[in-house]
């Protein structure tokens, strides 16, 4: 099978009793998004299984993007760097260990994907070719967020003795790792 194509995950039938108010909310949202309630419920459960249950272990909170950006803009860059180094050397390891039981390059890259998918901290794109794996993170949170990400990612990989090549602007961070 082509590396671009991946087998669909197996689905299984299962029935649950749920609060009526929750069901009404899901059906209303599914209708608004023009998808089936089954699809939406499955995606909600995947989000719980892939992210929420591990995020609560690291005491995750969810401020609005307006508040998040405002906090970043008002912070001193040196403090941002200090925080990023501390967070990057502990949080990703705790998250991926809880999720998959191992800390390696693939699990840390998966952590970066997960933060895009479920926490909206940036948009994620990656190109993998025979020479390198290049990951681009694009965001609207300003220069301090790029500074945070650069130092968070550096500290995250430092634990494995890996030093990705990093570049940044006020709205993006690009990291490159040699092909493995």
């Amino acid at each position: 099978m082509s590396p671009l194509k991946k087998a669909k995950p197996k689905s299984v039938p299962k029935s649950f009793r749920v609060d009526e108010s929750a069901l009404i909310a899901v059906e209303k949202e599914a209708a608004a998004q023009q998808v089936s309630s089954n699809t939406l419920v499955n995606q909600i459960l995947i989000q719980f299984s892939e992210f929420e249950r591990f995020a609560k272990k690291i005491n995750t909170v969810k401020p609005s993007s307006f508040v998040f950006r405002g906090l970043l803009d008002s912070a001193d860059s040196d403090k941002i760097i200090e925080l990023a180094k501390t967070a990057g050397s502990s949080i990703p390891q705790a998250f991926v260990t809880a999720k998959g039981g191992r800390v390696d390059i693939d699990s840390l890259l998966d952590h970066l994907r997960t933060l895009s998918l479920y926490a909206h901290l940036y948009e994620y794109s990656e190109n993998v070719n025979s020479q390198e794996q290049m990951v681009t993170l694009v965001h609207d949170f300003g220069l301090n967020w790029s500074i945070f990400l650069i130092h968070y990612i550096t500290a995250m990989f430092e634990q494995l003795g890996v030093s990705p090549k990093l570049e940044m602007s006020d709205r993006s961070v690009i990291l490159s790792l040699p092909a493995r």
């Binding site: 671009l4 998808v35 699809t39 895009s116 994620y124 794109s125 190109n127 993998v128 040699p178 493995r180």
Partner: protein, 78 residues
Amino acid sequence: MKQKSEGFQPVGNAILSLRTLEPSTCSRLEHMLSKVPGIVEVNLNHAADVVQVKFDPTKVTGEGIRTIMKKLGNATSH
């Protein structure tokens, strides 16, 4: 640097936000993106408000897909 075999096929993945798009655009997005040359798979995640795209990076880039989505969003809002 380790070199992969000659048959290695480049792979691209993107996770892009749906938050700037109208629901009516989102419902057409899967169909519209899947017609773009180089895009291999499109999965809308309504719970997470993102679209996950698998693509051939020799034909299209993550930035290119982002630009297409931006244009779709602009076209809908006008």
